[in-house]
Amino acid sequence: MKESKLQEELFIDFLEKNKGLIVKVAGVYCYDHDERRDLIQDIILQLWRAYPKFDESSSISTWTYRIALNVSISYLRKITTRKKTQEVYEQQAGFIQWDAHFTNEKLEQLYHYINFLKPLDKAIIILHLDGVKNKELAEILGIKPTNVSTRLQRIKEILSTHLTTVKN
């Protein structure tokens, strides 16, 4: 019993450290505020489910990215989440609360254009913008570093074109 309480406390501390990462990933995959809250809750549920099995063979951020990206990419969650978190909706509250309106207009535009990318390309750009090295990025996604470089180049071009058009 004590062990499980300790694990709950450790998990909440872990969430406190990684809340930004979770909100960012969810923001990229769900542009709509309600859907994003729904996705964040599903990510947290799956993180908690996997937390006792974390074996430190990879870094905690790599592990968190993997789970957050997997939950976000899989559209299975659309079917299952609403049932699971029904009680949460009834209480009109979420596991994480935040002000969804960005104060930075450019950041909002960036999220908007990332939203047009394919699911795997979204994952690549999030990880890259967060400063994850190509080798680790390739490990998280399961592709070769050379493939990462090629895809990144293409994504950068797409985003730069969109944002330059807006700027002009």
Binding site: K19, K53, S58, L76, K84, G94, Q97, K106
Partner: protein, 209 residues
């Protein structure tokens, strides 16, 4: 716009997120620690139930075939059902094998590939019911009536003939159903197409290596 600018725009949200995002500890304790289910929970239990039912169904059919081996009117119908049951049994084992191989240590592409494979298998088996039901209902009725009630449905004169015609007619109905489903796909079919398209995208990502 320079790429470096994109990075600084992206990172500008970090400070904002640290102060702006609040964790609802109370709600997490109340809900998250109690209500944990995998998104694939339903698929897992469906596969387990199918495996359980298929096991007894296989046992029953093998017994029936052994008892009626030389009475082809019955043994052939049972063999048709047996082939479907073996297919269902293998499919359930395959689904469970994929399910239990999914873990957080896998890469995103590997995990997504497995999830989509599971999802498409589930949708395919659901769709296959459209032709399995008309195609196998007559053999099912003949075998079950003989085994459970010891009634020979062929002996009912015109009804016996009707059953035979029904068996052949069911093949035609199944072909028509498949044609109609292909011509006018419903929501489930579009989900299946979406799933297969994503599987292909994942395969392309692997092949690009």
């Amino acid at each position: 716009m320079e790429y470096q600018e994109l990075i600084s725009i992206w990172n500008s949200s970090d400070t904002e997120l640290k102060t702006n995002v609040q964790i609802n500890r109370k709600l997490i304790k109340e809900v998250a620690f109690k209500k944990i289910r995998s998104g694939l929970f339903e698929i897992k239990w469906t596969a387990f139930s199918e495996l359980f039912v298929d096991f007894f169904w296989l046992y029953f059919l093998v017994g029936f075939i052994v008892h009626n081996l030389w009475d082809y009117k019955f043994s052939l119908q049972a063999l048709v059902l047996l082939s479907m049951a073996i297919y269902g049994f293998i499919l359930s084992i395959h689904k469970l094998k994929i399910y239990f191989s999914i873990n957080p240590g896998l890469s995103v592409i590997e995990t997504q590939y497995k999830i989509e494979r599971l999802k498409s298998l589930e949708l395919q088996s659901l769709q296959s019911l459209y032709f399995i039901i008309p195609l196998f209902s007559a053999p099912f009725a003949i075998v079950v009536a003989k085994a459970v009630l010891n009634i020979n449905l062929y002996s009912f004169g015109i009804f016996g003939k009707v059953l035979l015609y029904y068996t052949f007619g069911a093949v035609i109905v199944a072909v028509i159903l498949v044609f109609v489903l292909k011509k006018f796909p419903g929501k489930k079919d579009s989900n299946l197409k979406e799933s297969i398209a994503f599987l292909n995208e994942l395969k392309e990502s692997e092949e690009a290596d």
